[in-house]
């Protein structure tokens, strides 16, 4: 008689073989020890976990005009969101172009479709009108590395004008390399080395003056949804963190343990591979603790406590039978919750069709409220701790993530693997094999290659937002250029140029520039002149 444990294996989405059943001897010694809130934090960042603080309901939103963006944020906050994330127009924000840039004019209909048009401090004030930013936790956009200093300077300036001390402001920046150097490659952006310099400037500025602000947030999500598998995502996130910590160590301006606490807010993708992603989040906290201790000798508790934001995999939401996506979002969210996430965003059920409609957005919040209030999920910290399977998988993901981290380091580090295209190749190969599995039917996706009959077809129109974002944005742009103090503006832009070229911290002159009503495209012109362009390493 064969033991059920000797059955042929099934693989996780990362290719880790799964047994039929796990036992005590599958669990590596040492991993189950410890408690939530204690090193190495495998079991959770906080001792009481969700009893002391429920996870933050943190949804991405933004489209159209600044007024549209503000209205949607207020809508979400009224419906129970507990922090807000601003999404900016890709044409202008991602590229640092004003609306009259020829590349934007050529596609003016697209403007504002997947993010709000925010070109100036005034636009920021319009978005945030009626939102109590002194008490609400915010991520004011700036997911794109080259865009982050502008958007942060605007957000902080709005706070300053309202009399809110920067030191008391709560929120997070992102400035993520995975986003536009791996996942959604822009037509034009500054080189990775210049991007690193901007992020180090932001880290320094925030760590010195804004103790309640997370200065950067590495977003593994953007790597994972572009094809990196779970342990690759984790290994690459840690390799990215090393770029920041090594960079700050080289500057020598900050205590490194303090610096590490500024890098310890990260983002992961949670997907439909429920247990692997639970294991990934548990492994991530462990790996961070190990990285700090082994590489930097940091044992500081605050620095070693990794804080995680989880976002459900947009690429796993289907166009076909879109209501099924509510179930998918719930399961993916569960991975975040059981893995001990600190905040959570659920993709809209209309993700494959458009940015979220009000209803889809509301549903994402409602699902989170159901998870928080109806399921007793918040009662027990690390409910899967001690599960033979979950502990074994956590150890396996951790080991593979370290190995992938080593491969990146062997190739010169995280930014070098972005510059060379090595990471892109890894992502593309995974993506191709996933598609092959779907194409062949080896991997079943309900409504797509399997169970595609629908007794009552539910069609989503696709949220289209506002169609006048370009025209109205052009009017604002012209008004700002005409009315602003030319001398003040010129002086501020010269200071910004000087900082770019001298290596002085970019953030103070950026704040001066946005205060003098510099526009996003003008900031881009300064950056392009000072830093040049990145050459994407991939071919399609």
């Amino acid at each position: 008689m064969t033991s059920p444990r000797n059955e042929p294996s099934v693989l996780t989405s990362s290719g880790i073989p799964l047994k039929v059943v796990y036992g005590r001897d599958d669990v590596p010694a040492g991993l189950t020890s410890g408690w939530p809130g204690q090193r190495p934090f495998t079991r959770g960042a906080h001792a009481q976990m969700y009893r002391s603080k429920p996870w933050r309901i943190f949804q991405l939103s933004g489209f159209g005009n600044p007024e549209d963006e503000g209205a949607r944020i207020r809508f979400l906050l009224e419906h129970g969101e507990t922090g807000f994330i601003m999404e900016h127009d890709r044409n202008t924000a991602d590229h640092l172009y004003d609306l009259d840039h020829p590349d934007v004019v050529a596609r003016h209909e697209d403007v504002g479709m997947v993010g709000a048009v925010i070109q100036s401090l005034e636009d920021y004030e319009t978005v945030l009108d009626g939102i109590d930013i002194a008490s609400v936790y915010a991520h004011p956009g700036g997911g794109v590395v080259q865009h982050a200093p502008f958007t942060l300077a605007c957000y902080w300036s709005v706070a300053h004008r309202r009399g809110i001390p920067l030191a008391s402001l709560t929120g997070t920046s992102q400035a993520d390399f995975f986003l536009t150097y791996l996942g959604c490659i822009t037509k034009q952006q500054i080189p990775t080395s210049a991007g690193l310099r901007l992020n180090l400037d932001t880290l320094e500025f925030c760590l010195e003056r804004m103790p309640r602000w997370t200065p950067v947030s590495i977003a593994g999500y953007n790597g994972a949804d572009s094809g990196l598998n779970g342990y690759q995502e984790l290994g690459a996130v840690m390799a990215n963190a090393v770029e920041y910590l090594d960079g700050l160590a080289a500057r020598g301006t900050l205590d490194l343990a303090r610096a590490a606490s500024g890098v310890a807010g990260v983002n992961f993708r949670v997907s439909l591979d429920l247990f692997e992603d639970i294991a990934k989040l548990r492994a991530a906290r462990t790996m961070w603790t190990q990285l700090l201790e082994q590489r930097y000798g940091i044992r500081d508790e605050r620095a070693a406590r990794l804080r995680i934001h989880s976002l459900t995999a947009g690429s796993q939401m289907t166009y076909q039978q879109p209501l099924n996506n509510i179930a998918r979002g719930t399961i993916m969210a569960l991975a975040g919750v059981l893995g001990g996430t600190q905040s959570l965003g659920i993709s809209g059920y209309d993700e494959a069709v458009s940015i979220p409609s009000e209803h889809a957005h509301q549903m994402s919040v409602r699902v989170q409220q159901i998870l928080q209030n109806e399921c007793n999920l918040t009662a027990v910290a690390d409910p899967l701790g001690g599960s033979f399977f979950v502990e074994a998988l956590t150890a396996e993901v951790l080991e593979r993530a370290w190995s992938f981290f080593g491969q990146i380091q062997d190739r010169g580090g995280f930014l070098a693997t972005l510059d060379s295209g090595w990471l892109h190749t890894e992502a593309m190969q995974n993506q191709a094999s996933q598609l092959e599995e779907i194409e062949s039917g080896a991997r079943k996706v309900v409504g797509v290659n399997f169970a595609d009959g629908d007794v009552s077809e539910f069609e989503i129109d696709g949220f289209q937002g506002s169609s006048d974002a370009w025209e109205r944005g052009i009017e604002r742009l012209e008004r700002i250029r005409a009315r602003r103090n030319g001398n003040l503006h010129k002086r501020a832009m010269t200071e910004l140029e000087r900082a770019c070229n001298s290596g002085a911290n970019i953030i103070p002159p950026m704040i001066e520039a946005v205060t003098a009503e510099a526009t996003v495209g003008e900031i881009g012109d300064v950056f392009r002149a000072a830093f040049g362009d990145w050459t994407p390493p991939i071919q399609f």
Partner: protein, 155 residues
């Protein structure tokens, strides 16, 4: 060995949205099926038309991540200046956009479309024969296929 030279397909992104998952998958699938793919990157409507003519392609594939209007303007430009070159469109296409495309006789491929359906459409639109796999193709991992092709810089 193919008796005819491979059909040439120009693939372009109409918007400034950098998501490349879909367009990359389609480009690889077409190459694996024997097409020669020229990748235009993010190009403006008039640039796409000019490139289609200059490269003397047999088909244009538009990847759209923004509104349908930009694709419609591109299609209209192609029909004016290169009426013999057929077009198909893929990307984030809400049902209303799919109907608009159908109304002007253009096939659209929303997320979740099968790659073999896209390849079949490319063959039909170009009159290409189904290609037989070459010995080199057999046993070649799909993900590495782009290494065998003339690189086109991403823009």
């Amino acid at each position: 060995m193919n008796r005819h030279p491979p059909k040439r397909v120009l693939i372009a992104k109409t918007g400034l949205d950098g998501h490349w998952r879909g367009v990359s998958a389609v480009a690889h699938a077409l190459r694996d099926a024997g097409f020669e793919v020229i990748f235009a990157g993010m190009a403006r409507p008039e640039q796409i038309v000019a490139m289609a003519l200059q490269e003397d392609v047999d088909l244009v594939g538009l990847n759209i991540g923004g509104r349908i209007e930009v694709a419609l303007r591109t299609i209209s430009g192609l029909r004016d200046e290169a009426p013999d070159i057929p077009v198909f469109v893929g990307g984030t296409l809400p049902p209303a956009s799919m109907r608009q495309l159908a109304g002007i006789g253009v096939q659209g491929f929303p997320p979740g479309s099968s790659l073999s359906a896209i390849v079949d459409a490319a063959r039909r639109l170009t009159g290409a024969e189904p290609s037989r796999p070459t010995p080199q193709d057999l046993g070649t991992p799909r993900g590495s296929s782009y290494e065998h092709h003339q690189p086109v810089p991403y823009q």
